[in-house]
């Protein structure tokens, strides 16, 4: 083969590869829109001669193009239709990249009365204001993610004064990301129709089925009279992989409402001044499962902090709801009008784990049966709230309500499937929640050794105890947590000991000890 032929062959090979993988991304174009522009005979590709409407630029664009929208007000004609994003595009408003929370700036404002409708996947909308979607005949939403779409990203937008702020859908291929938005006062037709009064809303009709893999973080929800986030999907399978974190909710009817939501988490949010009398800052209805509510600050509201109910609309009662390390109420009288936690009969399968929360008082939550001297927010229903945090999180020790007593143990456990053994010896004591004592442990198989002080006893019942502490520098880990059971006077083959340290979880469990004894007094 001649050199020329080899070059030609190589060029064709490269071209074939480019065509095979798709080169549209490499050739993605920029389009420009400004209120001073002109849509006539314009493909919007020259920044000096921008189009006048966003819809025109979308129509002219190819997938993967970026549309730059200058500051100004965009009513988006023609009247009677929403602004429709039907290609995988990036729309950049004047404030793209600028967090919308508290933002005061010149904005690219979309004011289509029928809202904005995203019908393509992996659309990015960054740095706009969407407002005045007030016509219930069509989308109802400031921005509606169309059923079947996936991977929509809404970043740095102000979404306000619509019937509903955002309609949520994600078929699950890519994560939906909603970040750094300010979602406020979406109250047109509140209590009239069509989910009015909600910041982010979804149900089976909006989403077209299951919703998966959604991250809603670092947004501000303000003054949405129904709820900041309302997941009312009452058809199976519902919503999964929903992560609501580090948002602030203030003066909304409720912070978060969930139906039929699974394997999801609400964490590190601040929810204040919820206005819905009788409801709750976090309101759980039917069929939620494996839901963790952690590290949130829930303060002041016209209803409850957290309420669980079962209406019989979808599936069964909720299950696996875990509520830990939240600050629920503050010391004083300006807290929740209703309970800190209300678990209605039949709303949850088994006892709700509500341990290690701050309830607004070192004496723990008021509970008529199990803590009548508590002066914090009230807990009603089937919830395990002991121990509670003796001071607010983070940092508050989870020792509230642990009775005084001692636990001692010495013996051996199995540490692997081939008969390997570990030896333990400990004394631990709770003195009205103040823990002390020591633990020594040796895994004879790995040689891992622990020499540790007991700092907290987090559970102490007649038959069970949990304690934790910090270890000396020559130990295999910096800290440990142990769980023990005193099931018989002779501990061999009856009592239990398991220990977590470093990456070793529940070593020695779940079976009984093979020698020795554990005693709780």
């Amino acid at each position: 083969m001649t050199r020329a032929k080899r070059y030609a062959s190589g060029f064709l090979s490269v071209l074939a590869i480019l065509l095979a993988i798709g080169v549209s991304a490499a050739w993605a174009a920029d389009r420009y829109v400004a209120t001073t522009g002109n849509d006539t005979a314009n493909n919007c590709s020259n920044s000096l001669f921008p189009c006048q409407t966003i819809q025109k630029a979308i129509n002219e664009a190819s997938p993967s193009d970026t549309i730059h929208v200058a500051a100004g007000i965009y009513p988006e004609p023609p009247a009677g239709s929403p602004l429709t994003v039907n290609k995988t595009l990036t729309l950049l408003g004047a404030q793209n990249g600028v967090d919308a929370r508290g933002r005061v700036a010149t904005e690219s404002i979309v004011t289509d009365s029928q809202g904005t409708y995203v019908t393509a996947s992996n659309v990015v909308i960054d740095g706009f204001t969407f407002e005045n979607s007030t016509n219930p005949a069509f989308t109802n939403y400031g921005i509606l993610m169309g059923a079947g779409t996936t991977g929509t990203q809404l970043l740095n937008n102000i979404i306000q004064n619509n019937i509903v702020g955002i309609g949520l859908a994600n078929s699950g291929g890519s994560q939906v990301l909603i970040r750094h938005n300010q979602i406020q006062n979406n109250n047109v037709f509140f209590n009239v129709c069509c989910a009015g009064g909600t910041g982010i809303y979804t149900d089976e009709f909006v989403s077209g089925g299951a919703v998966k893999n959604v991250l809603i973080e670092e947004n501000a929800f303000i003054g949405n009279d129904d709820a900041g986030i309302d997941v009312s999907n009452t058809a199976l399978p519902g919503v999964s992989g929903l992560d609501v974190s580090t948002n602030s909710f203030d003066m909304n009817g409720r912070g978060v409402v969930l139906f039929n939501t699974h394997m999801s988490t609400i964490h590190d949010n601040s929810i204040t001044n919820s206005t819905f009398v009788g409801s709750a800052a976090i309101r759980l209805f039917d069929n939620n499962s494996n839901l963790s509510i952690m590290n949130n600050d829930l303060t002041t509201g016209a209803g409850r902090a957290i309420r669980l109910s079962f209406l019989g609309l979808v599936g069964g009662p909720s299950s696996g709801v875990v509520i830990n390390e939240n600050n629920i109420g503050t010391v004083g009288f300006t807290n929740f009008v209703g309970e800190g936690l209300l678990v209605e009969p039949g709303s949850h399968v088994g006892t709700v784990n509500a341990e290690c929360n701050w309830w607004g008082s070192p004496s723990g939550p008021f509970n008529a049966t199990n803590n009548p001297t508590g002066t914090g927010e009230e807990v009603v229903g089937d919830a395990d709230f002991t121990p509670w945090l003796a001071a607010p999180a983070p940092g508050g020790a989870c020792i509230g309500g642990v009775p005084s007593g001692k636990v001692t143990g010495g013996g051996q456990v199995r540490v692997n499937m081939t008969g390997g053994k570990g030896t333990f010896g400990f004394n631990a004591k709770s003195d009205s929640g103040v823990g002390s004592g020591h633990l020594n442990y040796l895994n004879h198989v790995t040689g891992a050794h622990l020499d540790c002080k007991v700092t907290f006893v987090t559970e102490l019942t007649p038959t069970t105890a949990k304690f934790e502490g910090t270890c000396s520098p020559n130990s295999a880990a910096m800290s440990f947590m142990a769980e023990v059971e005193d099931n018989a006077k002779q501990g061999k083959n009856a009592d239990k000991f398991k220990i977590t340290y470093g990456t070793n979880v529940d070593e020695g469990g779940p079976g009984p000890i093979i020698s020795g004894n554990i005693e709780i007094k």
């Binding site: 001297t373 005084s404 004592g437």
Partner: protein, 157 residues
């Protein structure tokens, strides 16, 4: 819902959390340990030649000489016929003291399983003298030589 009188009650509640209870004042010392130790040559118990032991212990010692806690040890031995024979000691500690040199003495009764297939021996008196690096054990009428700790740790505080 926060109750009336929350301020005073909260203050008293907080004080009660911090106030030491009687149970704390009663305990003068604690002894814990988990480890492995070796006997000097010639150690034996009831005809079983012993090479070492593993131990696990957790005890609170009160100022009046009483104690509560557990002592467990496996004496690693060889039978008269050369086969491995481990002797398991599971003791309940009822008395204890800490000496000026920092060592602790624990006493009580134990169940001793000779590991020979026979039923364990109940209520065998025992005395343990523990320091941070060694362990002496008197089991019934037999005083075993002091074993030296080779792994793990013993804490007396």
């Amino acid at each position: 819902m926060t109750r009336l009188g929350v301020v005073l009650t909260a203050i008293f509640g907080f004080v009660s959390v911090l106030a030491p209870a009687a149970v704390a004042a009663q305990d003068a010392a604690g002894v814990t340990g988990a480890g492995e130790a070796v006997f000097p040559s010639g150690a034996a118990f009831n005809g079983v030649s012993l090479s070492g032991l593993t131990l696990g212990q957790g005890v609170w010692i009160a100022g009046n000489g009483t104690a509560t806690g557990q002592f467990q040890a496996v004496l690693l031995g060889t039978s008269l016929f050369g086969a491995p024979q481990d002797v398991t000691v599971e003791g309940k500690v009822s008395g204890g003291s800490v000496a000026g040199d920092g060592s602790a003495t624990l006493s009580g009764t134990a169940t001793v399983d000779m590991g020979d297939g026979n039923l364990p021996l109940p209520a065998v008196p025992f005395t343990v003298t523990a320091s941070t690096g060694s362990l002496g054990l008197i089991l019934g009428a037999t005083a075993l030589p002091t074993a030296t700790l080779t792994a793990g740790s013993i804490t007396i505080e």
